[in-house]
Amino acid sequence: MSKEAIIKTQNLTKSFGAFTAVDKISFEAMPGEIFGFLGANGAGKTTAMKMLSGLLKPSSGTASVVGFDVFKQSEMIKKNIGYMSQKFSLYDDLTVEENIAFFGGIYGLRGDVLKLAQMELLERLQLMDQSKKLVASLPLGWKQKLSFSVAMIHKPRLVFLDEPTGGVDPITRRQFWEMIYEAAENGVTIFVTTHYMDEAEYCSRVSIMVDGKIAAMDTPRALKEQFGAKNMDEVFYTLARGAKRGE
């Protein structure tokens, strides 16, 4: 496992006209780290994530993601990261198998390699006998596990999870986090946003954005000590309550 940072940003900034959505953020995320990225709606989370995943060109600063420069090599970044969001992940009207094949294809898996990855994935999720079913017919929890696995199908070293657990029941939520842990143990860096503050505690490190800046960044334990809070919810509230800008 290399000890080089997977994400490395220095004063990364994005402005839209006079509005600075992301204001000089600097941080590093190491291999195998679960990096929690929190913030109130409109704090600049989404913009920051778009820059890091190569979808949006930053205004200034520097950043490298999985070894590629966000300014010049956004296409390489897109090829080498995984992305999963609650809003969109899989095609409901395709079967499990077809979804895997489609997303595998997007990431350049072909022929035997794709077949192998597909088999592996179905086996790991114990979805072998459901592979011909439409994704629409799967329970939400399974869909989420499947879309996480699909996001990981090309074995990326970094995966972005945008509110991956919204609306699911508490057991499924925890099962999902077990998958995240497993991936992290295999050295994958997980970059995750969530509105569940207990989930923030599962992260190795958490950053909290307020008004486009990183207001705090540390392990959950250290943050709680620093703010004299019982849990991350209180930490978040203390920091985000002071936000000046609406969303």
Partner: protein, 307 residues
């Protein structure tokens, strides 16, 4: 009783999908009643039946004494409804939306300003902005204003805090607190278990069934299982260990703590801690805790699913 629901069953897709499975409960005048459950629990179907938008397959329900089928037009006059999806007109401004919905209910914004003043002052600076261009928290406030503008006797709020950040969520519940004095009955649903504490009484729902109904304290008080909290720096490894532990029924992470339910209620925290230590986990602290709503929900889920 402000709301009476009796044996409601609702299916979709010609009976193939069971959305509500014999649901019954009652809500008192002025009470804030929370329907708590994940997506697919049947919350929205229930709300639509009570707001007269859908017909149940069987069972009866009444809102402030009006049957949801026969008295639908009366119910529509006295209810305020905030659907799960933001449903105001995106191209109309904040003010225009509010005026429109006031007129729809045959009233004016001025007449009922006292009801929404607390909330409206927060969105007033944006009153000329199209509703579609508001932030999530602002949209939510506007939707609540529109639902309140005709001074309803009962408010139906379907997942008002979904997808909203924790600060806005707190603010929203604080707004509901301030409505308390108006004696408006509120039926509210949420997938966030921690919001149970903001309701007078709650119903825990999963896959169309009500798993439990009571006040939060009573639900927790009547929970018979013992739950241990376990603190460690080796969260993931320890939880894997508990999964294979003979004396452990279930183990789930709760933030920085593991919640462990033993199979045998006689098991003590000291015994569990020493069994961890003998397995090589030195940095472990086990202690008794009061279970929280998620512990209970997960346990009930297990029973509901026949596990």
């Amino acid at each position: 009783m402000s709301l009476i629901v009796k044996n409601i069953i609702k299916t979709y897709d010609k009976g193939n999908v069971l959305a509500l499975d014999n649901v019954s409960f009652e809500v008192k005048q002025g009470e804030r009643f929370g329907i708590i459950g994940p997506d697919g629990a049947g919350k929205t179907s229930l709300f639509r039946i009570l707001t007269t938008l859908l017909l149940a397959d069987s069972g009866v329900a009444s809102v402030c004494g009006n049957d949801v089928v026969l008295g639908f037009d009366k119910i529509r006059r006295i209810s305020g409804y905030m659907p799960g999806k933001f449903s105001l007109y995106q191209d109309l401004s904040v003010e225009e939306n509010l005026n429109f919905f006031a007129t729809v209910f045959g009233t004016t914004v001025a007449e009922n300003m006292h009801l929404i003043k607390d909330i409206y002052v927060q969105i007033e600076p944006f009153k000329d902005r199209p509703a579609g261009k508001l932030s999530g928290g602002m949209k939510q406030k506007l939707a609540l204003c529109c639902a309140l503008i005709h001074e309803p006797k009962i408010l139906f709020l379907d997942e008002p805090t979904t997808g909203v950040d924790p600060v806005s969520r707190k603010e929203f519940w604080d707004m509901l607190d301030r409505l308390k004095s108006r004696n408006i009955t509120i039926l509210v649903s949420t997938p966030y278990m921690d919001e149970a504490s903001r309701c007078d009484r709650i119903a825990l729902m999963q896959t169309g069934k009500i798993l439990a109904i009571d006040t939060l304290d009573n639900i927790i008080g009547s929970y018979k299982n013992k739950v241990f909290g376990v603190e460690t720096r080796q969260m993931h490894q320890l939880s894997q260990f508990f999964k294979t532990h003979k004396a452990v029924h279930s183990c789930y992470p709760f933030g920085d703590t593991l919640h462990v339910t033993p199979k045998d209620a006689l098991l003590t925290s000291i015994e569990l801690e020493s069994s961890c230590k003998s397995a090589g986990f030195q940095d472990v602290k086990v202690f008794d805790i009061v279970p929280n709503i998620e512990d209970i929900f997960m346990n009930l889920m297990g029973q509901n699913n026949g596990i």
